[in-house]
Amino acid sequence: MVPPPHGGRLGGEAGTREFGWSMPRGWWTRRPHYFWYIVREFTSLPLALWLLWLLVEIRRAQDGPTGYHPHSSLGFVIFSVIVLLFALYHSVTFLSLAGAILHFNVADRPIPSQLIVLSQFGAWAAASAVVGFVLIYFGRT
């Protein structure tokens, strides 16, 4: 059994419906499970930064053929590698949740959650293949 991360401290007075909630500082460092939960939530920040970069890359097309210089520095590649690790963690954790969230019946029989998760990963692979093909194919000069 996993103990509560907050240590079970509740404020407020007995008999009222309002209660305070306090989390000890650094609670998420106490167990790997808590740490990876916070990492999962944190993945949003690097992904947001990378999407903002993509927005800038789109905007740079206004600079014209002579002024357009795509990002290709080593620093940008390292940044992308780090963001990719966070992106993969987001994908694996998010798509794995589908088995718990989605419920379908076929002929009055529930589809196994593993099959639903597998379908999500299959869709991810297919989408990646299509998008990857388009990005590369239309990049030929």
């Binding site: 916070i38 947001a48 993509l54 789109i58 940044f79 987001h90 990857g132 990005l135 990049g139």
Partner: protein
């Protein structure tokens, strides 16, 4: 009919909208972002594969396509609604209860709306829509 039961029957449209945006943003980020980062952020800049945004001509050719504009709008805008929710609750989890409040909601979800508006503006003003 009591006041309580009347309230219970009201559909939570706003709730439905934000949860829809959160869920769809999460799905889109999970399904589409890794391949974009891999190819546009790593393999393309390293010269391993040709990539559409590495040359002005190829980049402008695809950016003029209305379907590409729509795709990029969805790809960029939707995940920000997911990020806004997650980052707001990340702050709550890390000991900032003020992140639950209305001002924080305005900042985070307003930020997602602002990114959406900026994305629409950039997509419409960068390369004219072309059906060719």
């Amino acid at each position: 009919m009591t006041e309580h039961s009347t309230k219970a029957r009201k559909p939570a449209i706003a709730h439905l909208f934000w949860w829809f945006m959160f869920a769809q943003g999460g799905v889109l980020a999970a399904m589409l972002l890794p391949v974009h980062i891999l190819i546009q952020g790593i393999l393309g800049p390293l010269g391993v594969v040709p990539v559409v945004d590495h040359h002005y001509d190829t980049w402008v050719n695809v950016l003029g396509n209305p379907l590409v504009k729509l795709y990029l709008l969805v790809l960029i805008a939707f995940p920000f609604f997911h990020f806004a929710h997650r980052l707001r609750y990340l702050l709550v989890d890390l000991g900032l209860p003020a992140a639950r409040g209305v001002p924080a909601q305005i900042v985070f979800y307003g930020g997602a709306v602002a990114v959406t508006m900026v994305t629409i503006y950039i997509l419409l003003t960068t390369v004219p829509i072309s059906f060719g």
